[in-house]
């Protein structure tokens, strides 16, 4: 059942939330040991929440738009009294004293949280192999990575553990695992969804967004979490137009630009490029006007991102010092305690990014690295702005390849190249989503990325729905 069907049947009293949750917990029991989607399954809390919803329905109260819909939460979203680890040893055992705004909204809408999903430590990675608790596995082939960093959330949806999941996307961490696992993944416009209670990685890039098996379910979840939040000063103070209302409007006459640079760039596999061309043809057949477009600066996105994101991370992760929460390794001075705690608590990739960011911001190098990266960011935004004058949406592959083998990308730079198509939208703050569109030569899922201008999620979802329809 889709999330929409579950919510409708629970609200109508045709199905109990308890039976829905039982069914999904059984699916988790059957395959979780093989896939490792979750850091923690909150079974008792989920059953209690389901019973409370069923009592509401019995009392004639409205249980909410997502009544009884199970959801999996990336383990970097704060949940009151439930461990939130970021898949890091430095936060192991920490229980947040408050809920993230998205968690509060979902609970109010009647969604039932099944647990916290695995990720690359502090969301730094593209495979979940950087998790301190071990990697998640791709449900389509368990010798392959699920992508990352929100790999556990993608696996949870792809394996049928939950119809919905939330992830966070700083450089592609929702869209890339969605592509590799064959599900829908959405990064909304920067600021469209409150980041309050999302553990910060790179604050000018981070955005929370949905995973779902269908475009309509992703739209349902997007509408439930979007909107201004006074607790997040970067959240956009504007009303959120409905995307569900326009999902079936069709794409007749819409202008679709296929980004030339993201088909030609080094590393794009021929089978993935072929699927992107097939997607463009499918949209043309559905009535869109499709043309190739050049967005020249996107090829510098990777370079700018891997200076900007680590720079922001080096500052954000300074808070993990053993003073207020999480791990502390004691020492005779506070300075020594900082050093020992951080060294024991962080994994290699997090250390690498902190080092990179610290270097990029250090005296004598700021202008050469961080300053230059910020200027490249401006160029990318300018080139996107020019493209959106001529096109309603832009199209590209989501990831250069299908899912790769666990352990295959031990070289950090090789791993970073996975994000080449997804990073530009983060730098620009624009919405972008991945839609499954067939398989590659290896039979594994290929995702197509639909990008749109800031705040135009509605058009992006319309095009995604058309792509989904073409595969049906």
């Amino acid at each position: 059942m889709t999330a929409r069907e579950i919510a409708a049947s629970v609200r109508a009293g045709e199905r109990s939330a308890r039976s829905v949750v039982d069914e999904h917990l059984a699916a988790i029991d059957a395959r979780e040991s093989e896939l490792h989607a979750f850091n923690l399954v909150t079974r008792d809390e989920a059953l209690a929440a389901a019973d409370a919803l069923d009592a509401k329905v019995a009392a004639g109260e409205d249980p909410g738009a997502l009544a009884g819909v199970p959801i999996a939460l990336k383990d970097n979203l704060c949940t009151t009294g439930i461990p939130t680890t970021c898949s890091s040893k430095i936060l192991e055992g920490w229980k947040p004293p408050y809920d993230a705004t998205v968690v509060r909204k979902l609970t109010a809408a009647g969604a039932v949280c099944l647990g916290k999903t695995n990720l690359d430590e502090f969301a730094m990675g593209s495979s979940t192999e950087n998790s301190a608790f071990g990697p998640s596995k791709n449900p389509h082939d368990t010798t392959k990575v699920p992508g990352g960093s929100s790999g556990g959330s993608a696996v949870a949806v792809a394996a049928g553990f939950a119809p919905l999941a939330l992830g966070s996307d700083t450089g592609g961490s929702i869209r890339q695992p969605a592509a590799l696992c064959g599900v829908v993944g959405v990064k909304p416009t920067y600021g469209r969804v409150s980041r309050y209670g999302l553990v910060a990685f790179a604050s000018s890039l981070d955005q929370i967004g949905p995973f779902a098996a269908t475009v309509a379910d992703a739209a349902l979840l997007y509408e439930a979490i979007a909107g201004h939040d006074p607790a997040d000063s970067t959240s956009i103070p504007e009303a959120v137009p409905s995307v569900l209302d326009h999902l079936d409007d069709g794409i007749d006459g819409l202008r679709v630009g296929v980004v030339k640079e993201l088909l030609d760039i080094e590393g794009i596999a021929p089978d993935v490029a072929a699927r992107a061309k097939a997607a463009a043809e499918a949209l043309e057949a559905a009535g869109a006007k499709v043309e190739e477009v050049s967005v020249p600066a996107v090829i510098y996105g990777l370079s700018a991102y891997y200076l900007i994101a680590p720079a922001e991370a080096s500052s954000n992760l300074a808070r993990y010092d053993g003073v207020r929460y999480g791990l502390r390794i004691d020492a005779s001075t506070t300075g020594e305690m900082y050093d020992r705690t951080r060294t024991a608590g962080f994994g290699a990739e997090v250390e690498r990014r902190i080092m990179l960011g610290t270097y990029a911001l250090s005296a004598g190098y700021y202008d050469a690295y961080y300053g230059k990266a910020q200027k490249v960011r401006t160029l990318i935004i300018r080139d996107f702005d020019a493209a959106y004058e001529r096109f309603d949406v832009l199209l590209s592959p989501t990831s250069p390849t299908t899912a790769f083998t666990l352990g295959a990308k031990a070289d950090p730079l090789a791993m970073y190249l996975n994000d080449v198509c997804t990073i530009p939208s983060n730098l620009a703050g624009h919405p972008a989503m991945s839609v499954p569109f067939g398989v590659g030569d290896d039979g594994l899922p290929v995702g197509i990325q639909v990008m749109a201008d800031a705040l135009d999620e509605a058009t992006m979802f319309q095009v995604a729905a058309a792509l989904e329809g073409a595969m049906a």
Binding site: P97, S233, S303, A304, S332, L379, I381, L427
Partner: protein
């Protein structure tokens, strides 16, 4: 920009408050150098007259009424800390060794 030296990596680790082993420094030095070398592709761009972007959405300062409010989580925050005393976080001596 040129590549990264081992000495620079040692210096940056100290700034970042990480105690890396010699082996880790040997591993990180070429890895970080490769990433910085890749980032050098932006040297091809003329950026002289381009303003920097630090944030994707042109938000101005956000104001709210200056009203104190009790989040009601003080005890929970302190309970989650590694060490507390008299309602404060307790740390080892900041200046020098303990007496």
């Amino acid at each position: 920009m040129a590549s990264l030296s081992r000495e620079e990596v040692v210096h940056v680790a100290r700034l970042a408050r990480l105690q890396l082993t010699d082996e880790q420094i040997d591993t990180f030095t070429p890895q970080l150098a490769a990433i910085l070398d890749h980032a050098a592709d932006v040297e091809a761009l003329d950026l002289a007259d381009v303003p920097p972007t630090s944030h994707p959405y042109p938000l101005k300062n956000v104001w709210r009424p200056d009203v104190a409010r009790d989040a009601g989580i003080r005890d929970a925050v302190l309970a989650a800390a590694p060490s507390t005393e008299a309602g404060m976080f307790r740390v080892p001596p900041v200046l020098g060794e303990a007496p």
